[in-house]
Subunit: 554 residues, 2 copies
């Protein structure tokens, strides 16, 4: 980066405040590529509570059917028999493609990982896992299941956060991991076609060799499947720059409940011939079909990257800074993240790291730029920083000077989740709110918890802090309520208050995590009855027997 | 632009070749903002033939029902009565909201523009035009129509190219022009909410005052409605940069056939709560509901713009140039257009203008960059041009030095349609093909026409030229067959050959124009029976009586 050579007086002052490489190397926080391992049993806590803390290694999570006693097994679904298993064994041929817990008693340990989500918050009772290797196999599996009323759960990398990728009862798991071929990549157009079971990071590394990137990046990239990403309409870190999967996915191949293969594996950017049906599958969480292949438009990789972090006195100023960043950094802006002081104080408390800025501020923003020319990008970023400091929008800031410092600054944003997990249980809400009121939710929630006498520094108060952070560029807020212990009063103060607050602002109760089991009941806070009714029509049209991922979504 | 001050030796040579401002002012071709007026009667030519040439001002086009005698009026639909008209008059109140040709005989001239498309290629027989001003009015109109089996045609700016926005028989036209309010714009997030009848250019000019642009630009911007843009999933000039409407539209409000108002007017970038139903309405051409409001993500306006045009020896090199442009210009690349020499020769022949480059080449590419810093952009573009010339990818090129030259260079691309229209009738195909084979269609078609003895420079040959040009960045080709006169042999040589050729490459027979009446029958060339079957299910689910835009689309 050419930043060093071109510093202006304002920026020279900035540099005095920058974190040293030494500090950066010892932050102990890394840009997390995989979700932190769950450390807690959910058996003792209520279902909306995000459990944390150390957990006995061999302990079993509570069954989802126990956590949600109001969900009953649908009696229309058949019970698995030896004949069913024999059919699937013949169909899939190899032993490794069928994990059989129906006729064998020694497979429980093998099947367990397919029954449990990575947070160990949801746990199903499936006794049969099928691992097809071709679309044809998926088709034959589903046709048989549909004919025999056997419920199924499509499963990708099983990195979801709402219990969507594991069974509730004895649904058959159809795990897509063996469909992991990259089918083709066109280096001129940037169009990639790959099977659903490809791991995001593997695909991204493949694209890197050709100078491209996958237009999606998220913490779970080392485990999640691109089929799962599309099925859950994953958002992540690159959305601000490259837009949502609804814009970048060009086509899909999917298998319907009755085994019909829907070949919409279009590789074209423009195709106005009829309803864009693939869009329904994007974010459907496997409820209307199983995505088997994906065609997607990949952007060129940007060779230059810069990261800056700055402090602001108010949320009003954070909005001004965002507006200026969009205007001045425009085409090179690739992330604009917001952190409140509460969240940064928790990171500091847990890591003991020196803060990047000398003083503390009510808000911090992290800006990332990605472009094709490092000198140009540095120049733009410096001009922007000078401008916002001169205008008094930004109180103080620092610009990363190398890759280590870039990681270190990102750690103050991405380390929040981990820091919270060290401190006790957390109520987590992933919401979208119109930008103007984005932070108001945190303030109103904090005031409400405080008024109820539940918030304080001393151990007698169950709530340690109410903090907010998130993808400001996408109006996506993570509201986190950090607690010292479970206290029923806290949940009563929070819910349905938070959902009602969001509904009043026409926000979304699930910005990027989806519905799954967790938010199935709350869809009404973000969608009106007309919309939900139409969605139910769609579900019935595509899956009349309801065998696909039951008990979830709608 | 700083281009002038920073020219390298290679570029100094380039500048010698640049068109002079004088030449530019006299090209006679302008960047067309509105579609050229139609000049021909379609009564004497077959339906797939794009008619051109002067037409008597008061002449009447041929009725669509005559051009397509195999389309019969659906007898399930009721005939309009005085009682129906009286009901609508009471409902909409003002006289100007109801153009009544049922009980009055003096309204034929007023109604005619609503019956005829702008090319005067399609003409319906509607006798009632309704012009609602609110969603509530649209709802009440549709409920009544659905209850009384009255077919309707939703109509925006009526600038479509496939006959989708005018009636075929006596369908009631619901014209949206009076719903033209901009409802709100958030200057921080860039989210615009506006009524469907807003004219694209008006909205774009409104956004300009706030430093934003509408993420869509097209020739018909002075007339087309944003509701129509969304309903037809318009592509246009900015798609390469800002992606399709499937990615930028955040929400819609629509009215279903039975009058149900679907309020999905989400203003959030992220909302993973159920099926993304709005996507079905994007590109549905008014067949499942009438879009009444749109919420859309608008990007910041780029202050700097550069345009270059260069000559290449082969399509292979055009692909290489595109690849290099994506890599080196990356985030500032806003257009990459392809023109073959045949198309440029026609422009030269009609306008008599001096070509921008001294020599002729088999292919020409036009590159546009849009960015936030003029100096940076010029530097990138110059470095790119040096690089592609040094590598021998590009044979010669010119860089526009001012706004006049920018317009002049664009005229060589955008003037093709107008040039063709001066020379006789044209068979026009708007198709998507995987990039590698994009131009092969032109070569194969030309060879086929030639082999049939139909192509030649002398008047005895009905075909003057087979040319190709288009949005190379989007793999969207316009194949044009320029003829001297109508000759049945030409149509037989072209069809179904072109559609079959496209189908074999899994291309799209309609990249951006949609299906309408014109391509309803050909959807099978781009969509398999499974997809078409699912689409028909969707249509039935949303519009069981089939009153919305009948005889079209599927």
């Amino acid at each position: 980066m050419a930043a060093r050579q071109q510093l202006t007086p304002v920026l020279r002052r900035l540099r005095l405040l920058k974190i040293s490489p030494h500090t950066a190397r010892h932050t102990g926080l890394q840009r997390t590529l995989t979700p932190p391992a769950a450390r807690y049993l959910s058996s003792t806590v209520p279902r909306h509570f995000q459990p944390t803390g150390p957990a006995p290694a061999a302990a079993q999570s509570k069954l989802t059917s126990e956590t949600y006693p109001d969900i009953k097994r649908d009696p229309r679904f058949a019970q698995l028999t030896e004949a069913h298993v024999a059919h699937f064994q013949q169909l899939l041929g190899t032993y490794s493609a069928v994990l059989d817990g129906v006729t064998r008693s020694d497979t429980a340990d093998d099947i367990e990982p397919f029954n449990t989500d990575w947070m160990r918050k949801y746990r199903g009772q499936c006794r049969l896992v099928l691992r097809p290797r071709t679309t044809e196999e998926v088709s034959r599996i589903l046709k048989y299941c549909n004919d025999n009323m056997l419920a199924v759960v499509p499963q990708g990398g099983n990195t979801g956060l709402v219990g969507g990728s594991v069974p509730v009862f004895d649904e058959i798991v159809i795990n897509m991991a063996r469909m992991d071929n990259i089918i083709e990549f066109d280096e001129v157009s940037g169009t990639l076609v790959a099977e659903a079971g490809c791991i995001l990071e593997v695909v991204d590394q493949f694209l890197a060799t050709a100078g491209y990137i996958f237009p999606l990046d998220l913490g779970a990239k080392g485990s999640c499947h691109i089929g799962g990403n599309v099925s859950t309409n994953a958002g992540g870190l690159r959305l601000l720059r490259y837009g949502s999967l609804h814009g970048t996915v060009l086509g899909i191949e999917a298998v319907l409940a009755d085994g019909t293969v829907v070949d919409d594996l279009c590789k074209l950017r423009k195709n106005n011939t009829g309803y864009d049906l693939k869009q329904l599958f994007i974010g459907a969480e496997g409820t209307i079909g199983i995505i088997t292949k994906v065609s997607i438009q990949c952007p060129q990789r940007s060779p230059a990257q810069n990261v800056a972090l700055f402090g602001l006195s108010s949320f009003e100023q954070a909005q001004q800074a965002f507006r200026e960043a969009k205007g001045q950094l425009s085409e090179i802006l690739s992330a604009f993240e917001l952190m409140d002081d509460g969240s940064q104080a928790l990171v500091r408390q847990v890591t003991g790291n020196k803060r990047p800025l000398e003083d503390t501020y009510p808000f911090y923003c992290l800006i990332e730029t990605s472009g094709s020319n490092a000198d140009h990008d540095s120049e733009k970023l410096q001009a922007f920083l000078e401008d916002v400091m001169e205008k008094g929008i930004v109180a103080d800031g620092t610009l990363a000077q190398d890759e280590t410092q870039i990681k270190s600054l990102w750690a103050w944003r991405e380390g929040i989740t981990e820091a919270l997990s060290h401190l006790g249980g957390t109520y987590k809400y992933d919401v979208s709110i119109p930008l103007k009121e984005l932070y108001q939710l945190v303030e109103d929630t904090r005031a409400r918890v405080d008024e109820a006498g539940l918030l304080g520094d001393e151990d007698e108060f169950p709530v340690r802090a109410v903090v907010g952070y998130g993808h400001m560029g996408d109006a996506n807020l993570h509201l986190n309520v950090s607690t010292r212990r479970f206290d029923e009063r806290v949940e009563k103060v929070l819910e349905p208050f938070v959902y009602e607050w969001i509904a009043k602002r026409q926000g979304s109760i699930s910005a990027e995590h989806g519905l799954g089991v967790m938010k199935k009941k709350y869809i009404g806070y973000s969608r009106n009855p007309t919309m939900v009714g139409l969605m139910k029509n769609i579900k019935t049209t595509f899956d009349p027997n309801g065998i696909l991922n039951p008990y979830k979504y709608l």
